[in-house]
Symmetry: C2
DNA sequence: CTGAAAGCGCTTACAG
DNA sequence: CTGAAAGCGCTTACAG
């Protein structure tokens, strides 16, 4: 057992000051690096701290300087099993980056349009800032945080140019995947998607359209279905587009894709021979499907990490870009192979 | 907009004392309910607080009373897509219960056998206690917390009777499911499972054995495979037990089950006609599989909720049961239907 | 039943 | 470059 780390922390800044024959002020300055202090004095203090494994009391520091060294991550209350890996990886990214700067991450789970959990944390002064997940559209939280003057960054996009945002280049990604499919000679591409009020879906739809338009391919209304909010609608849309001669079905997210695959399995079509399939979002379940599915891949951990770094910069008063755009990968797999 | 909640919190205990012509002590006592105080005085203070929407500064309270009103939830660094829903639901349970008592939850993600993240939180004094996930076997954290005297509760089981634990009745559940299958007349039941160093797997195995023994069914060594750590081993085991005449394959967890299903799909056996399948753990992906899979269901949110309540009781110095056992459901589905 | 005062462990003008 | 002192917003013996 290591003697220097044994037992509970109990030494404080006064003890150090006394032991070294300096003032508390000096010790504080040595630690924080703020204010003028002699290099020698400083080294002496740091050595002592090192040797005695001293860690400043974060609460006391917080009380004195109005900081908590906590940030809150807002998670949507409900999300499908397809969104879970993404949110879990983002959480990892946020966590790792926060910890590096000695911040902790507090979670806040909010039902749509209920900001009470956020309000609680803010009013209790438990955190220095927030990181928001776009997933659930919650119109109330952004205005609330703005009004309260609480720093925050959004993982996702929004129109308000005052909010700091980090997002993947959704539109460009979808445009690229669609373009690749078209260039492969697949002419009749169907698009199935969910709620178009959703920002992400809007961008994805736009990317799809741009690809078609740029290549001079007509968009066939009989092959494009959005607003598919449940399994039945998705299955029916799949049936329709197949009946209308689709060669490839592009799914705007994994929920849609999973349903489409179920439908194809039931009706005993073969992928990719009878019908090709691609998804605008990559998920382990689809990656490991019997026929591996072509999809767009986004690095969720990086998203969380960058969002957190933005917030920490903001908290330290550093300049911060208003919007950071992150990359993507187009992963071509068996499901779109030419036959 | 509500005027009483407008703008930032800025009133403090001294302001209240001054406004009411009483001492800070009195105000503090009115709020905490500790110490003798006149009912009238108290009401006066509470009214004022209500009216001005005052919330005590948690940091200051923490500094004075050595409390943070935070608890930490330790999450394993890596887990499969099958464990995610479970851990997410547990998190929800912990969160909801914590918030009710005005606690926040801080996350700690620890790689196996690395307690640095835990140590950081403890040394920084950021939380009052921990809730541990058994998932990752991390031998170092329990001894560390014990040594430091930090209260904690384990979601799961362990041999150390000093640790407060909350767990589902794994053994009983597995015994019951196996018994039901046997009583249905399915004689040749195979069991496939992963790492037997894992506490949960031990209990599940035990439950399976008890069911067989109680009904006087011999356990066939050619039908029982454990230590199946990867896809290839699982597929091979599935092939073996089918070759050995298994009528039903019981999977000790969802990872095993998913692989078994893949193997069955590839080899074009039919469920439940050719072979029946059951899992000792229920997961949305299996529930929604083409043939819905018979499984044991555990309420993860309740687990988190009860664990959190235990910890809060512990923190308030209330008596706490050493081990709480939670229920389960046996969910019979298509995959074990008699044909 | 109530209050004055010390203290929790830091930070930070202000003065030297 | 360094220090004495006030202050962050609470709690809690201690005294009345």
């Amino acid at each position: 057992m290591n003697h220097t780390t044994e037992g509970k922390q109990n030494i404080n800044i006064s003890d150090i000051a006394a032991a070294l024959g300096v003032s508390k002020t000096t010790v504080s300055r040595a630690i924080s690096g703020k204010g003028r202090i002699g290099a020698e004095t400083r080294a002496k203090v740091m050595d002592y701290i090192e040797e005695h494994n001293y860690r400043p009391n974060v609460l006391a520091r917080g009380l004195a300087s109005s900081k908590t060294y906590n940030i809150a991550l807002m998670l949507p209350a409900e999300f499908s099993r397809f969104e879970q890996p993404f949110s879990r990886e983002s959480l990892s990214g946020v966590y790792k980056t926060a910890v590096k700067c000695d911040y902790d991450v507090v979670i806040a789970i909010a039902q749509p349009n209920n900001i009470d959990p956020i309000r609680r944390i803010v009013e209790n002064g438990k955190v220095d800032g927030f990181i928001l997940f776009q997933a659930t559209e919650n119109d109330a939280v952004i205005p609330y945080l703005q009004e309260q003057g609480v720093p925050f960054v959004l993982m996702g996009s929004c129109d308000d140019s005052r909010v700091i945002q980090v997002d993947n280049r959704q539109m460009a990604a979808c445009q690229e995947l669609t373009t690749i499919l078209l260039l492969q000679g697949i002419k009749k591409i169907a698009l199935l998607g969910g709620n178009m009020l959703n920002q992400v879906n809007k961008s994805r739809y736009e990317g799809f359209c741009k690809a078609c338009d740029n290549l001079g391919c007509k968009r066939d209304k009989n092959l494009i279905f959005t607003g598919l909010e449940n399994d039945i609608l998705i299955a029916r849309a799949a049936a329709d587009v197949i009946a209308n001669g689709a060669e490839c079905i592009v799914c705007m997210d994994d929920i849609v894709c999973a349903e489409v695959l179920k439908y194809i399995e039931k009706t005993e079509h073969c992928i990719p021979e009878d019908i090709k399939v691609a998804s605008f979002y990559d998920n382990q379940a689809l990656r490991e499907y019997l026929v591996s599915i072509t999809a767009l891949h986004f690095d969720a951990e990086e998203l969380g990490s960058v969002a957190c770094r933005q917030l920490l910069d903001l908290l330290d008063g550093r300049a911060v870009e208003h919007k950071i755009e992150l990359g993507y990968q187009v992963v071509l797999r068996e499901s779109t192979k030419l036959t």
